[in-house]
Structure formats: C-alpha cells, structure tokens
Symmetry: D2
Subunit: 314 residues, 4 copies
C-alpha cells in the first residue's frame, strides 16, 4: 500500500543514447544500480527524469522497462499533463503495465485554491481508483499549494496515498502537514534531497529524490531511522558539495547523468533536447568534486556506521 511507502524512493533518470533516442538497455543497468544502492522504490518520468520530453508511446515503453526490472519494488509513473485526457490515458496504461501508482502535480495555470480543488475533482473522477502521489513542486509548476489546501485534498480524495513535498523551504510545511493530518498518508521529499536530515527530523517517511550517489539517500534514511542522527549528518555532509552542484536545475541533472555514466549506471550522459550540454568547465568541476568526495569517503574507513552506506564514488 502506497500510504505505507518509506525508505529511499528514487526519482529515476531516463537514459538516452547519443542521438537522443530512449536507451532501453540502459534502463536495466540503471535500475540494478539504484537497487544495489538501496532503492526501495522508483518514480519514473518525473521532472528531472525528463518525462515531459517524451511521446506517450515512449513514456509507456520506459515505464514498462523499469517495472520489469524493479524486482517487485513499487514503480510510480509521473503522468502530469496539461491535457487531462492524456493524463487519464497515461494513467490507465501505466496501471495496466503494473505501476503501483501515478504521480500528479497540478498544471501551470491553476491560480486559486478553488481552481486547484476543482482541477483535482475532475482528474480524480476521470482516473478512478488509482493510488496517487500528490506532488507539491511550485518551483516547477508555478502552482503554490498551502498546507490547508493540501490537507483538504487529502481529506476529499482517498486516492492520495503519498505527498511529495518539495516546496522550498519544505521544513515548516512538513511539520504542519504532519500536525494537521487526519487520514495517514506518506510524506516524502524531493528537492534533490538538499534538506534530507532536517526533513527526517520533521517526520518524513524518506527521500523521493534523484542523486548520482543514491547510497547517500538510503544511508541517511537508514542511519536516521536507527537513531544515529549525528552519523546521518556526517554522511550527508560529505556528499553535500556534490549534491549542491547537482541542484542546479537541468544543468544539475546533466551533471548527475555524467557522474552516473562514469559510475557505469548508464551508457550515455545525454539529455534530450532542448536541454543543457556540459562544457569543459563543468567537466573539470565534476572531476574536482568527485576527487574530493572520494578522498572524504576514504577518511571514514574507521567509521563503520558510515562505511556500510558508501562505496567509491568513481
């Protein structure tokens, strides 16, 4: 059941070959990479997963491939779309292919909370009884949802099982959602995990984010839930310089794909066009950050709590 979702849920990249075609074979290696580093589930075709750049057929092919390889872990499919009819079609097809649920953010153009409620009334009636992750990501959608508004949506629409909270700042919103909550939903957070340890302290059920080193996401989650709070911060802080670098919008995603290519997770670092293309400057910055990260991780050979969660960054 998605309302019990917890742990490190990965916002998966979509791999493309160097011509920009979907690279289905890399989905297999990528999924294995994520699982090996502690993924407890997946969201495919989110914003940083370049879901908005695909055709409907490509979206379904990508979803099916991830589902087939996920080893029974839940796969949630991003279906946000300015066309409700297309959203409905994608939802039906994704669930038919074995998705555990879909993720929906309101379309840009929603301007009042009345319109927001009306939008979701329509959409939830259209898609029927499907588990939904409600995505609160105003930096991308331009739609701001207050805590009372999110609580009202949860109360009225039983399909909502999870809130992906990635407003910035997220911290106070998490505390208020937890305090105001009637029916239990899972709350996970995005924003590249930039505030993950603090968000854990505020009561989330885990990260729902992408990072080139997913072992950090699962490691921080594990340490925190084990009560090793200082160790969780220690681990987080070592990765923070790279994490911060990957938090530069689509340029950050391009860097992330390049690091994941170097780690063997995918064959090509290509972003589908229109999208950024890294320069020599960026590659030098990535070199520096990875070199420093590896050195920092080597220093913790004597820290067993951390070691379990790490592996070389190359």
């Amino acid at each position: 059941m998605l309302n019990d979702l917890s742990g490190s849920i990965i916002i998966a990249q979509t791999p493309f070959d160097d011509q920009g075609a979907v690279d289905l074979a890399s989905i297999d290696t990528l999924t294995d990479f994520y699982l090996r580093h502690g993924a407890n589930g997946f969201v495919v075709l989110g914003v940083s997963g370049e879901g908005g750049k695909l055709t409907p057929q490509e979206a379904l092919d990508v979803s099916s491939r991830f589902i087939a390889r996920a080893g029974g872990k839940p796969v949630i499919v991003g279906v946000s779309n300015p066309s409700s009819a297309q959203l409905k079609m994608l939802t039906g097809e994704a669930m038919h292919r074995g998705a555990s649920g879909v993720m929906i953010a309101p379309p840009s153009g929603i301007r009042t909370e009345e319109e927001l409620f009306s939008y979701f009334s329509t959409v939830f009636e259209m898609i029927g009884d499907v588990p939904v992750v409600l995505q609160d990501f105003p930096g991308s959608t331009g739609v701001w949802m207050s805590v009372p508004s999110i609580l009202r949506l949860i109360e009225n629409f039983p399909q909502i099982k999870v809130v992906k909270e990635e407003d910035i700042p997220s911290l106070e919103k998490i505390s208020q959602l937890r305090a105001g909550q009637g029916r239990r939903v899972a709350i996970l957070t995005g924003n590249n995990g930039l505030y993950l340890p603090h968000e854990m302290a505020r009561g989330i059920d885990g990260p729902m984010a992408g990072f080139s080193h997913p072992e950090m996401l699962s490691g921080v989650y594990r340490l925190y839930t084990e009560g090793q709070i200082e160790a969780a911060h220690d681990l987080f802080d070592r990765y923070l310089p790279l994490l911060n670098y990957e938090a530069q919008g689509f340029w950050g995603v391009a860097a992330r794909k390049e690091v994941m290519r170097r780690r063997g997770a995918i064959r090509h670092a290509t972003m589908r066009r229109p999208g950024p293309a890294l320069t020599a400057h960026h590659l030098a910055e990535i070199d520096l950050l990875l070199r420093r990260l590896n050195r920092s991780l080597e220093e913790i050979g004597s820290a067993p709590a951390l070691r379990k969660s790490t592996m070389p960054a190359s």
Copy 2:
C-alpha cells in the same frame, strides 16, 4: 503557399458531445458553417479550440476530419506542446494527413530571447521543412517576444510563413513587424478579433480568430480590402458587444459555443472538462446580446455594403 495567406482564417472550435467525447459529426456541420460565412482557411486545435485537452489520437482524428471537409481550403494544425518529441510526432502525422502547416507557440518556461531562439532552433531542426505559423500569444503562454526577436526568428527559420500576432496591444507591434520585415511573411491577428479594423489599417493580411459570427470577420476583411473603411467599422461595431462578451477567456469560448449551437453549427455547446459551465445568468446575457444584435442587423437593410456580409444572428 502559406506566406500568401490572407482573408478570414478561422480558429475552429472542437465540438464535444454532452459527455465530453469528440463529436466528429459536428465537425462536418461546423466546417460547412464556417465556409458558408466566408472562411478562407482554418486553424484547428488552437488554445480556444481546446487543443490542449485532447489525446494525441483525438488530435489527429479531429485534424483529419476538418481537412477532409475543408473543400481545399488550407487547414493548419496547432501542435504546441511542452514535449518537443510529441510536437514532432504530431507535426509529422498532421502533415501526412494533409495539413497545410502547423502552428507553434513557445512553451511556458522560456524566459530569455536567447532561450527562445535556442528552442526554435531545436524544434525547426526536428520537424524539418514544414510550413509554420509562429504564434505570439503571451497572454496564454507567458512568453513575451519582442519585435526584434520575432524578426530574428523569421530571418533564421525559413519554415516560418505566417505570424499570428495576438499580443495585447497588438497595434504597434504589427506596424513594427511590417516596417522591420525582410522576407515576406503573412501577418494575421487573433485576440478574438477585438481590434480587427485597426489591425487592418496597420497592414495585416486578415483575422485568424474565432467568433460565433464568422461573417463579421470575413465581412470586415472584405470591406476593408475594398476600401470601404467606414462600412468596415460600421459592421464591426454592430458585433462588438457580443465580440467583447466572447472575449472573456474560456468563459467567452463557452458562450461562443452556446451561440454556435443555437445557430446550428454544432450539436452541443459542451466544453471539455476541466472547463467552465454557463449559468442561467450567462444564458440571459447571451439572450440579451443576440436579441440586440439581431435588431441592429435588421436596421441595416438599407446598407447594401453591409448586408452582403450578414445574416440573422439566431
């Protein structure tokens, strides 16, 4: 050739039945209605044509039906899409089905003119040699294009054959586009035709707009090109109260569909959800406006220049 496009080019409504399904049969009666009232071409699946609410398959079915019924008049298909891959797919399919070209507006999220240029470089490379209507509609897209920027796009991308100029205000922009123009493109205007006679004086090639009484659009165009400027204004002014009423965003489109239903052009006035639903207040307002329009048109029995362009409003 689209760069010679002129006359009244209709932004066509998409008819839905009372359940919100596409009503293909009504496309035939609607196309006949438009042609009977002076349409010299069509744009289907624009913003007010609810193009953004369809699935790709529906979009192609609607396009094909209009093309088949248009009696050889050009049909342009709106293919603007946040996904460039979907835009490319729709473009290829529409042209394959006999479209004369496609209409493209930049996606929301374009923030500088450098990004604008980069976006269209990518898109024009992807779609190849297809005639394009460049739509300048910042009120809908949130993307503002200056005149120098539009001229630069025209200069660099020979696929652009037409500019649909519907910034508000449009007037100075039209004069500047005409003055700055190198290669000849057609300039037509939208915004529900609210400034049509002034725009004709500024040098446009005709309206590219929707209205429940398309005979006004074609009539003003004909009178103006015949040099009957006062008569063009006389005709326009009689329709202006209703035109102004239909210029209320999607609520105006709902009113337009209701009027067109009453005129027999379509079977149902339904807007696809999410969308507005007219109240008794609105229906009373429409009653009043149509009654007053009919009375006003009857008064011009003695004005042959106008009479030719009109018919009863019911």
Copy 3:
C-alpha cells in the same frame, strides 16, 4: 460611509506637464471635468492613475489637491506598496489630509491564500481603523483571490468597506460575492468598464473605472438604476469602440489622456516615463474613433433618455 458607496466612482488620471512633472493646476480642471460628467467620488493614484510612478511626497500632494477640489465627494487614495511601512505611512498621511479611505491590492509575490490572509492581517493591524477598498486586480498584481478568500477577508477585517472587483471575467465572481456575502460591502468594478451593463445586472453598486468620457459611466449607471436597461445598453454600445480602444493597458491610458486633453480636461497628455508615447498611427485611430463617436451621438437627438447623459465628444 464607504460601504454605501454607489454611482460612478472615477479612477482619476494624474496629470503631468510635458516634462513629466506633476501638473497640480490640471488636477483642478480635471476634477471639475469629472464632476460635470457625473462623478460621485474618486479613486486617485490607482494603477491607471500612474500612482506607482510617484514619490511619496508627490503622491500626497496629488491626493491633497484632488481632495480640496472634490466638493465633498469621497476621495479614496491608492496606497498599495511592496513596503508595508510605506503603505502605513501613506495611509496615515492620506487620511490626515481628508481622504475617505484607501485602496489596497495585495503585493505581487503573494502565492497562497494563507499568505494572502497573513498579509492582510499584518497590514490591517498596522493601519488601524481606516476604511479600505480591497482591490481584486490579478491582471496587474499577479495575485489571484478566489471568492471564498475574498469573503473570508471581508468577514475578518471590518475595515473592508468596498471590493473593487476587476478580475476578468468578473461576472460570475460578482454573483458569487453577492450570494456569499455576510456583512454588506459595496462592490464596484473596474477593467475600464468593459462589462459595465452586465455587471450592473449582476448586482454591483456602480463602476469604479476610468474613461475619457465619464458621462458614459454615470449615464449607464443612472439608466440602469432607473430600470431603463435597453437604454443603458444603447448608451454603452455607442461608446464601446472607444472604450475598447482605451482598454489596451498603458497604451490605452495614453490614448485616454490624449482624448481628455482634447476635451480640455488636462493641459498635457503626457504619461510619466517609463511609459508609452503615442505615434501618428495612434493619433489617426483616435481621430477616427472620436469622429465616429460624435456622429453616433448626434443620431440620438431623438432619444431623450440618452441625450441627458451625453455631450459632444470633442
């Protein structure tokens, strides 16, 4: 009492000399002009009054001059400001100089209705017991307020005596505000009066708008309240072509000032910079519209109900 405000409340222009300095002498002739054409009150320093272009000292000088000349009619001062401290200072000074109240729109940057409520809590606590016109003008502020949100503000803040409703479309919002209302507030409408007769039917207390021919605003109000609904529309429709022309944002305001200069209301048509400057094209368009308006008004010599509300447009 402002909650009984009704009739034609004029959004006053601010006159500048040809160097862009405030032209205080023209405020006297302008106020007389407005009063002679049926003004029942004033709002000074609104958006189209270029209030945002003044220094605080200029704003207070302009306000004082209007108040001194208004012959006892209420003068409301626009004090919206990104700085709450400056808003408070302007409010205090305006009330001290004899204003009947102030008009406040939320600052851009308000994103949720929770933030909206919080903003007004702070502001109303800061300014104390001052009569307020709450301005709902999302096209200018970028802040959208739903009807439930406006009703909640009215219920919580007794300072709100009037709502200036100028969302587009306004009609359904007016009906819902009237239906949902607890405590009585006056509702007046802006948007250049573009939907005035329909808004009267929906239950407003009058226009709160600017127009180069304020006799139309007061005339439509008078006819409508006398039950002469068709005559109200007849009058409105004759002015609609010019009204529509003046509804082109700041370019429309520039045209309005030019027409008012021709009518002797102000000495210069100058807009303060940065602002639009009319071209020969615009002047020719204004010539044409005024010539046509005058001819149309002459035709109604035989219509006493209308005649009372009109005078030559030159």
Copy 4:
C-alpha cells in the same frame, strides 16, 4: 572605482528591535562585526537586507549609519523601486550621504529585452552619472536577462561598474560574461555564496552575499586568490551545511539573523513584518548546525591555511 571592486562585499542585514523598528545602534556593532571578519565593502538595503520593507526615510537613515561606520570601505545602496521617481530620489539622497554607488535590479513586469533596455535607458538618464551595480536576480525579480542582454547594457550605459550575478545556475553565465566582455566591469556573485569556489574558478571578483559567518566568504576569497584552491574548498565545505540552511529564502534570512544575534553582531533577530518567525524546530536545527560547525572548525587546528580565516562559530 567600483569597476575594480573585489574581495568580500557583504550584503548587510538591517537590524530591527523586537517591535520591528530600525535598530540604528545595532548597525554599528553589525558593521564592526562584518569588518572584523574580512568585509571589503557593503551593499545595504538589498533583498535579504529587507530594503523593500522600509520607508524612504528609514532607508536613508540606515544607509547613513552604515556609511558612517564603514571605515572608508565602499557602501553601495540598493535603490530598486517600482517607481522610477522614488528610485531617482533615493539615489540622489544616498549619493549625497556618501554612498559609493547604488544597486539596481529591473522591476518585475519587464517582459522582453527591448523593454529591459528601454527601462534602463530611462533610469540611467534620470539618475545621471552615478556608479551602478546591475543586479541579475531573476529568482526575486521575475525578470530574466540573457548574457547578450547584460553585455548590451554594459556597452551602452557607462554607469554600470559592477554586475551582481545571481541567476541560478550562475556558472555558465559568469564564463560567458567574462568571454563576451568589452569594457571591464567587476562581476560578483550572490545566491548566498552557494557556489562561491566554483564561481571563483569561473573568474569572478568576489562574493557579494550575506552569511552569518562572513569569515567564510572572505576566507574562501583569500585562499582562492592565493592559489590555495583545495584549502578554499576545504573551508567552504565545512560551512556548507549551515550555508545551505541559510539559503531557504526569507526563512533562511531569519535563521541568519538568529545566528548573528547569538554571535553578538546584532541585539535582536527580528525580521520586519510581514516576515517569517522561527519555531522551536528551527531553533533546534540551528543549535545542531552550529554545534557541528564548531566541532568541524576545531578539527582544523592543524591546518594553518584555514585557521587564519576562522573563529569559533558561537
């Protein structure tokens, strides 16, 4: 000369007492604090300095107090204002009081680069020969300026001596500004210094940012300019967890003021209303981050390169 500006230029907080009144006495201790930690100049009344919440009189009082205490270091005054007249007035008064220049960002509402150029043409003509920092901060203004646009402004307006580049991401923009530059201007960067070491590598002249530990900003600058690049990163990384925490918009500024209060720089952590108020959660997070920072700084007793730049965080 401002075009030679370099080093750590501090975006200064504005101190308020617990009633929200400007706390002039704390400006003295705050300025001393900044200078003691390596400030080479100041920008007062920026966005995070809550400049937009003051009255004009308060703005001038605050500016004068900082100028008097700055010990000859340059003080730049933020004068961005939706009213150009108020901007001009503030600029004249600030320069009269001894400011070294003013900082200007374009007002929200600028939509095309043509409008941007026109805006600055007007403003630069109004203010005359005053040294200007052009602020590129789209996250706050909603105005996006491309590199060609910024270069065109520099080329046309000799008053521009400095560009404060704080778009996110900033890195590629810095490289392109440096590569495209004709006339030399200083380039400094904001965004809370989140990418400072990478920005140094891209060629900036220093940070122009606020942080509760300004010794990090000056330390990273010094180490980088001395060629101690690894040490610069080492220093930066130790502060990054707190820096990241302070980068949460106005909530981050509230946290920064709380930390600076604890460090004795100001008497009260108050943000002027409307503004955020920290909860017990936030205070606990700050406790944790400061405790961890102090421990981390203690570890570098053996690293003289770093030690010089640090002091206890309490």
